[in-house]
Symmetry: C2
């Protein structure tokens, strides 16, 4: 009898692992349990779907379920939810949408249960017209609701990626938007300079940005009437809760799988948990951060895909580390691109033993004489002791999304700021000044180290 690789969760990490394991070891039984009807979906596309730029939820799916079953020979079971792991017997209990229950034995198990929308500790979350956007069906509900035209004013709780992308989506439908962020700035991991530019961009596009504002409750009588905050009530017709995500760790925790310091599932360099035969990958699991060498929980799509694929290779017989992360991210906020990598927060860096020094410079997206250019603002952080690059953030109207990548590469290669100053980056007048903004930032920072 062939061995069984059982995967719990059929999104990025789970399907990447299943596909890779089957390709590496075609004789192995690969079974995937997915509680919804959706697999391999791009939840990152939901804001654009709600905005109306993408017609159908199906468009977001990278590979349809049938192709996994037919072309890749994966036993993919949608509508099947893993409810318990029995480590002693190497078996998982499964409940189906039809109310049935069964157990399935595994030789190796991957927990890829993802993350759910974090629920802030406020009253009124169960009202009609309160939405989250972590899952596909939630996206459909929200789109259907906004398409009725009944919402004139929406409140967004949370100034992270989803909150900002959804502000753009709602404004695209001419809905008034108030965005509440309890911290002093939106996008905290991007640093203050980039965040302020994004806040200006949001305001310029008609979003009422309320930073430093704590939401206390969603008021209303069954349906939503207002967002109550520590600085007054704001009348709205609906609320999107985008306050962050929580790793889905209940299944693992109940089975005695160790969680790490971040609250996500602890893993080793191969994505293994404290149980030899059980792996975890994706939004439910920790990864090692390239800057600190410590566990971090940065749930992003590429990390999930990559860790899942590595686990699939390992299970398939080719031991493959999941690699480290730099926390690289980019988003579009109306007409701005804003990107980040590494760690910018001085307190966090000092706690990790660094002596961070930061500069913020303004450069240009094209040669000074080439028409149509615009400003790019870069914050670059380095370590005064070692000279290492620790983090960066940038914002601009063009040429930002991929300009963060050489800095991410530098961080994962442990380059110094001086090394970055000497990178041979591309130049032509339509695409930047001779000294790329990244190089200019490194030059200025190096002068301060």
């Amino acid at each position: 009898m062939s061995e069984t690789f059982l995967v719990v969760g059929g999104d990025a990490a789970g399907m990447s692992a299943a596909s890779k394991a089957k390709r590496e070891a075609p004789d192995r039984d690969v079974v995937v349990l997915e509680r919804s009807e959706w697999v391999s979906y791009g939840a990152c596309g939901l804001p654009y779907y709600v905005k109306g730029e993408i017609d159908s939820l199906e468009d977001l799916v990278a590979i349809p379920a049938d192709r996994f079953r037919e072309e890749r020979d994966i036993d993919l079971r949608t509508g099947h939810e893993a409810t318990a792991i029995d480590r002693e017997d190497s078996a998982v209990t499964v409940g189906t949408d039809d109310g049935e229950e069964y157990t399935i034995d595994y030789d190796e198990l991957l927990i890829a249960t993802g993350a759910g929308a974090l629920e802030p500790p406020i009253d009124g979350l169960d009202a009609t017209d309160v939405f989250t956007l972590q899952e596909m069906d939630a996206g459909r509900q929200l789109k259907e609701a906004v398409e009725t035209g009944e919402y004139d004013r929406i409140g967004i709780i949370g100034g992270g990626y989803i909150g900002i992308e959804m502000a753009e989506a709602f404004r695209g439908r001419d809905i008034d938007v108030t965005l509440f962020e309890m911290r002093q700035h939106v996008l905290p991991p991007f640093g203050t300079s980039s965040a302020e530019t994004v806040e200006d961009e949001l305001e310029d596009n008609g979003v009422d940005v309320r930073t430093g504002t704590r939401v206390e409750a969603i008021d209303g009588d069954g349906s939503v009437e207002a967002v109550r905050t520590d600085s007054g009530d704001v009348p709205v017709d609906a609320v999107l809760v985008a306050a962050g995500v929580d790793p889905n760790v209940e299944l693992a925790e109940e089975a005695g799988i160790d969680l790490g310091p971040t609250g996500a599932i602890a893993t080793d360099e191969y994505g293994r948990t404290n149980e030899e035969a059980i792996y975890a990958a994706g939004d439910c699991a920790e990864m090692t951060h390239a800057v600190t060498g410590e566990p971090a929980h940065v749930p992003l799509a590429l990390t999930a895909n990559r860790a899942g694929r590595a686990v699939g290779a390992t299970v398939g017989g080719d031991p493959t580390p999941v690699g480290d992360i730099a926390g690289t991210a980019v988003l579009k906020a109306f007409d701005r691109e804003v990107a980040r990598t590494g760690i910018l927060d001085a307190e966090e860096l000092r706690a990790a033993g660094f002596d961070p020094v930061s500069v913020t410079i303004t450069s240009a997206s094209r040669a000074h004489y080439y028409p149509g250019g615009s400003e790019i603002e870069i914050t670059l952080v380095g370590d005064a002791d070692s000279g290492r690059v620790l983090g960066a953030s940038m914002v601009g109207r063009e040429g930002v999304a991929k300009r963060i990548d050489p800095i991410a590469t530098a961080i994962q290669s442990a380059l110094t700021v001086e090394d970055v100053e000497y990178l041979d980056l591309s130049y032509a007048p339509p695409f930047g000044p001779t000294w790329d903004p990244v190089l200019t930032a490194a030059k200025v920072l190096n002068g301060k180290l």
Copy 2:
């Protein structure tokens, strides 16, 4: 008496060196000899000037001559040409536009004489209506000539950067263009795949591309009538010679300064020549290539700026290596961006001791569901022995210019293809698929190594 740092040549390398040396050592006399009236100009902008997108030649100047003199206290002498170096006496002979001659003593000397347009061995180059585009005044002459409206058909000799950018410039003025390239493809350092896409783009925009065609002469009676080739005559009204550049090494050579294997001036890691007190930087000098560790001559703007700045720092008392180069370059060819880094040529790589393996993949500039995306084609080359990344080329309609930079960074960091596969590059639906095209190329190549 304070020491004199003498700089020959007032463009990128020369003015960077002069500025940096003066900043590091304000007491030092810094003298720059520039034979033309132009300093610190962006010759890279000339195609856009001729096209008409930039009104004035002065717009191309990064910093005007007076600012160097007044704000930076540099003794900048335009219209002064260095005609001989006397190493014995540490003195340079100078001829001025007014016909005067004098000598000037130096303590340290930088040769930053740049490169000139390479003259192909053909008859007819001295005819009226034959142009080059290496210098500012040549740009002005060409623009004035095309603005007369007398040219209906122009022939371009050479399918490198300038040839292709000028094809776009002439087409923008509705002039018929025939581009002659003696090799099998345009842009040889970019590899065949990218070159073919660029050739298609040129043809789609009305450029008659004649690859594998050797120009034998420019025919005419004083003015230009036709380009004579090994496959027939092509009638034209004017010719742009863009057959590459030659380092300006006469001054150095006559003073007994060593040239390297490329024919440019040989330098050590600080940009020093075989004479302790004499440096060379910019388009006239060699640099060390990050892939081979050997001298290379890749005359580009950033290299010149950077090497000049490093020499200025060294002369100013802060010994600073000029760094290595990856040969990174990008250009815009009508609606395509095409970029490269490292070395792609298999023969060249084998000669340097590598065992190159190459893949070409096609990916996308945006998530598959996000509107407006287009194809990005990437060729990635790695070494079968060490796994190292050796070179890359890519072409697409958007998102290419800066996507080459993480690969350039990887090459200068000696990363392997597997390292690149695990880079944490940025992702959001408007800017690429979850697996960035660079990562996909690395995945596919790694599978073949």
